[in-house]
């Protein structure tokens, strides 16, 4: 029986895992490797590692971080995002230990990049990141490099990426505050959806999972800060949607 995915997001800034609130405030957690190890032990469905300062600092992807994580022998799918600007970047990220990649800024500055990457690594390995905002009843992307709202590139709506991660910018870092009205916009996008940003309320998670376009939800601060939060959430949502919670035997 197939299941929707419950993913974890590890935000990394200056080589430290951090809690992130609204793209503005960051609170240190510690070693990204230790956070990833914990999530793997708790059997999360997928781990997003997002290095949020690579593009801002004009750096490429954090290959050193990926190689350190690859040495940990974890057995959970890894998605990496941060600083991917070219096809060689994407290939190097996959070869260094990521199973899929997440691309954000580069889509706006190089709209043909997604197709180039998909043709080599496969569209199933490609996720577009879309920090999503509604303004005057119209949908926009939040460009965090320029701190402004921009038009959503058509590359997002076309069937190039396998999935789009919709980030509820206004509620990112919050608890239970995810804006479910985002679900009303998903049909405009060809790829399936991963939802992220304050989506920790089991009632809202069940509603999100009921939507056919939603294949995964992602949780950041709660999973990286509180032990067994993943298992507690899995126990609280409709068992039709998620794998049973896993507790490590010692």
């Amino acid at each position: 029986m197939n299941k929707k995915r419950m993913s974890a997001v590890v935000t990394v800034k200056k080589n430290i895992a951090v809690q992130s609130v609204g793209y503005k405030k960051y609170y240190p957690l510690g070693s990204p490797e230790q956070v990833v190890l914990n999530l793997d032990r708790w059997a999360v469905d997928e781990i997003f590692i997002i290095s949020i300062d690579r593009s801002r600092n004009n750096q490429g992807p954090d290959i050193d971080l990926l190689k350190r994580i690859a040495k940990l022998q974890i057995s959970t799918p890894i998605v990496y995002g941060g600083g991917i600007k070219s096809l060689p970047d994407a290939i190097e990220v996959i070869q260094s230990g990521a199973d899929r990649i997440l691309v954000d800024c580069a889509i706006d500055y190089n709209p043909t990049l997604l197709q180039d990457i998909a043709s080599v690594i496969g569209s199933q390995a490609l996720i577009g990141s879309l920090p999503f905002c509604m303004e005057n009843n119209a949908p926009f992307k939040y460009d965090y490099l320029q701190n402004k709202l921009v038009k959503i590139e058509c590359a997002y709506t076309q069937p190039i990426c396998s999935e789009i991660m919709f980030v509820d910018v206004k509620n990112e870092g919050g608890s239970g505050s995810f804006d479910l009205s985002i679900l009303d916009h998903l049909e405009k996008f060809s790829p399936d959806a991963i939802l992220f940003g304050g989506l920790t309320d089991p009632r809202k998670i069940n509603i999100a999972y009921e939507n056919n376009k939603v294949k995964a939800i992602a949780i950041g601060n709660l999973f990286t800060h509180t032990e067994h939060a993943l298992q507690k959430i899995c126990s609280s949502i409709n068992p039709e949607y998620s794998r049973p919670p896993f507790y490590e035997q010692r």
Partner: protein, 199 residues
């Protein structure tokens, strides 16, 4: 055992290396004809597009090595894309010839992608590798193998039923990623390696 992982330029080799080491086996990366033939067990890894992978294999002549290895019945395990390469052809992006080891072709799934944790069904009443319906495996693909049912050992359901695993002689193909499927995946890989070790 020494497991040899074919590096064809775009696979997720780091993940597989870690998994195999965690099972207590040695791993080496190879990409030449003789190493493919001589390997104790050959692993074909799993991320990338079919045309890109076959371009590399045909340009380097390594396609002949893999086919010869199958013909002399030495163990091969293909994972995800690695399994699909064993087919006659694929229509991913363009029609591309595969290794032609399995009797079948790779076709687009009738939906965009199969990216989820899913359970698999064994075609035999008692699975030879100890898998049950409570085991979940990580799938991430948009194409699937369609071919001779006699070669199919596992199938999976996602709206429709399609092939999740194949076996022909000592060549095994798995559509899912056991190295990314936590405890269930490790147990399956361990049992497959042990089955080759016992021969």
């Amino acid at each position: 055992m020494q497991i040899s992982l074919l590096n064809y330029g775009i696979g997720n080799i780091e993940c597989l290396k870690g998994c195999i080491r965690s099972l207590g086996h040695k791993i080496q990366l190879i990409n030449d004809y003789d190493s493919i033939i001589d390997a104790e067990i050959l692993l074909l890894p799993g991320v990338g597009s079919f045309p890109a992978a076959m371009r590399y294999l045909t340009a380097t002549g390594l396609d002949f090595a893999i086919k010869k290895r199958h013909d002399i019945n030495k163990p091969i395990i293909g994972i995800c894309l690695g399994m699909q390469l064993l087919a006659y052809e694929s229509d991913e992006f363009m029609m591309t010839k595969g290794l032609g080891i399995l009797d079948g072709a790779v076709k687009k799934l009738p939906f965009s992608h199969h990216i989820c944790w899913n359970s698999i069904s064994s075609k035999k009443s008692k699975d030879m590798y100890g898998i049950s319906s409570s085991d979940y495996f990580y799938f991430n693909h948009s194409y699937h193998f369609v071919g001779n049912e006699d070669q199919v050992i596992y199938d999976v359901h996602y709206g429709i039923r399609f092939t999740a695993g194949v076996k022909l002689g000592n060549t095994i193909g798995l559509q899912f990623h056991p190295e990314k499927s936590q405890a269930s995946g490790k147990r399956l890989l361990k049992n497959i390696f042990d089955s080759f070790d016992n021969e």
